[in-house]
Symmetry: C2
Subunit: 424 residues, 2 copies
């Protein structure tokens, strides 16, 4: 289902002598004994999904699809990137489904919000607001604006049936709304935003998009069982974590370039950028997570990767079978000289671009490359893939002696901003 | 109109003693005597725009808007990023204009292309294909597919009136189509793709989107006149180029993070990434160009920027007046505790996020920041801004003794790919 190819990585894991350290950290993760261990709920969450809540989510999603044509998801960071990454990866950027998901609450841009509100005036929409504390300013503002529009459209009582809240079980500003009759799902208190895609944070919007959340959770569960293995030789997840660790320690690489070959996987890269950047970027440490979509960006950043400042390594996620495909047909005139491709699908061309680029970068360009290859990307394999990266990220941080689950640096700009905004 | 603020850059330009070098390079640019000088046509292009062609472009754009509801632009890299950056920056991501521009030809993704073709089946579309050589594989494949669909929809003769070609004056596979009756615009042979936004490459799609191309060109011309000045003290453009040069040479910064505060400016960052990455990423040199959209990405990469590996500096493009805005109204219940913002526009909030983040990163986080501030972003100021960066990029490369106008490394993956595809 999923292969990891380290032959172009320039790293020999055997020479690192970190097998014991890896096994120790594995125990810390499984036993939840490491730094930040009050946020390790995600590790075995796939085994402990609240089945009653999951059933409710699926019923509500069915109700939403039957009564509305749009779901507005209000969230930012870990409260929207996971759902958006999975939604786009499985549906593409121009999905056929007339039921749409629109993401809001991730910006202060008046332009973006005004334009989305204008679109929503012509739609029949429900809202899912996602915030642990209910005080995230971007999300709160968007929710206030979009809720007002909804009440104008359908009235206060009907609006209550169209608003779905995902928040902390007890605390925060959104929780009291449960008493007013709003449906409320729980964001477990021992799971941080960037590790929350398998909780209702991800599951409710995905269910509304007709995505099979059971298969998605099954994939995560299978990955959990596969990667809870202290033996480095058998554990692809830890091999990946250790290889990227060695990229910086042994090869002085400072930037991890997440590479995909499909425009609709770009949000998956954004999710990865939060996961690794926010987990590892502490104490002046960490590998900067960047992303590219090839072949598009070979025509913008390709030159730099091939011949520029050698501070990058690549982690390439390549999926063999695309969601849709097109055949290149023969053209009698052949003015564009493309007939040598007649009868081929774009899948064939894209794969050759991938293989040719891998050779160009890894061999001619001396850029270390890690390749993660999947047969196809469906609910189950995506669940597997996301869990793989979450566990690898925890391992990567513990290898640096860093708490993977806090983000103290994010508070600084907020504090300054609140002061300037005059917030008491 | 446009201010550059270097007070948070940690660089004192006076201590670098490069005033003379800057003046020498300025002369090289103006006199077109430096490396790659056969591609310096963009330097004074705003003075030499072919007025007859420009008139034709505006007439054709009017015709396209009257007869079609969509323009499909087939191009990749420099043949689409400029137009897309300007289109989105001026129109937003959900433009009201029923006339749409769809970008194709920048990917081998069967999923993306199949979904776009499906959308186009319900639209009445014209095509603008942009390629100097006519052999760019991504663009050629997209053009073959989309042209076939167009001929199916309206027939071969009508299709000729709906296809607009931008290509080399004499060479390449697309030029012969001019003889068959297709309208053809010229991509000047002394201007490379990433410096081509002011040529028909950018102008025709922008004119179709009802963008005032005269003002856009005027902005470029004004910038040209302002920045063709060898005196570093008076030249903001060269001050920016020299400051970023010193970021690497003096402060060992390896990554330039282009920061905007509007989601619809993200393609502008993509254009910048190509401009600097492809121009400077040679001979193992160059600063890696990355981008963030704040405040969105403060909730994903903010932690890393604030406290992680200190390899970044920021170049922030902040625009005071947004395209659209929304007022936060008072809510009687105030359950979200946002009433302290009642009566304020999002412009006010976004500006405080910008100022609070600048303080957080530059002061608490010790991240050097360059701020480019504009009153508003319209055709004229965007023309100014893009020319500013093009000229700064040339200066930056010459400071490193690098040819800013070639991209030899891009050929390696193509060669490998063609071999795998079986191209003769």
């Amino acid at each position: 289902m999923m292969k990891i190819n380290l032959t172009h990585s320039q790293i020999d894991l055997n020479t690192l002598n970190l097998e014991e350290k890896i096994a120790e950290i594995d125990a810390m993760i499984t036993q939840k004994s490491g730094a930040g261990n009050d946020y390790l709920g995600w590790v075995d969450y796939p085994l402990h999904v609240d089945q009653a809540e999951l059933k409710q989510i699926k019923e509500d999603a069915k109700y939403v699809r039957e009564h509305f044509d749009t779901l507005v998801v209000c969230g930012i960071g870990g409260s929207y990137l996971g759902a958006r990454a999975v939604y786009e990866a499985l549906k593409g950027l121009y999905p056929e489904d007339p039921f749409k998901i629109i993401f809001l609450g991730q910006t202060f841009s008046g332009t973006y919000i005004e334009q989305v509100l204008r679109v929503l005036k012509r739609r029949k929409f429900a809202i899912n607001v996602i915030s642990k504390s209910g005080t995230t300013t971007e999300t709160s503002i968007a929710f206030r604006l979009v809720k007002k529009l909804l009440v104008e459209q359908i009235g206060e009582e009907e609006a209550k049936k169209a608003i779905f809240i995902t928040t902390d079980k007890e605390k925060g500003l959104l929780r009291p709304l449960a008493k007013e009759g709003y449906r409320t799902y729980t964001l477990p208190s021992d799971i941080g935003g960037r590790y929350s895609v398998f909780t209702p944070v991800g599951l409710f919007p995905l269910a509304c998009a007709n995505i099979d959340v059971d298969s998605f959770l099954l994939g995560a569960k299978e990955a959990m069982q596969l990667y809870a293995n202290p033996n480095l030789k058998e554990n692809n997840c830890y091999q990946y974590a250790l290889t990227r660790y060695a990229m910086k320690e042994k090869l002085s690489k400072q930037v991890e370039l997440f590479v995909t070959y499909e425009p609709h996987y770009q949000m998956l890269s954004e999710w990865l950028k939060q996961l690794f950047g926010e987990s590892e970027g502490k104490e002046h440490l960490g590998i900067y997570p960047a992303s590219c979509c090839f072949s598009t960006d070979l025509h913008s950043l390709g030159q730099f990767i091939q011949e520029g400042n050698p501070l990058l390594f690549e982690t390439i996620i390549y999926v063999d079978k695309p969601l849709h495909d097109v055949t290149i047909e023969k053209d009698i005139k052949d003015e564009d000289q493309l007939n040598y491709l007649a009868g081929k699908n774009l899948e064939f061309v894209n794969e050759k671009a991938f293989l040719g680029t891998l050779d160009a970068h890894a061999n001619s360009g001396n850029v270390p490359c890690i390749v993660i290859e999947l047969d196809s990307l469906d609910e189950r394999s995506l669940g597997h893939l996301l869990y793989f990266f979450m566990r690898a990220c925890a391992m990567a941080c513990y290898l640096l002696d860093i708490n993977p689950f806090n983000q103290p640096g994010v508070e600084v700009y907020k504090k300054n901003m609140f002061k300037l905004l005059g917030k008491k």
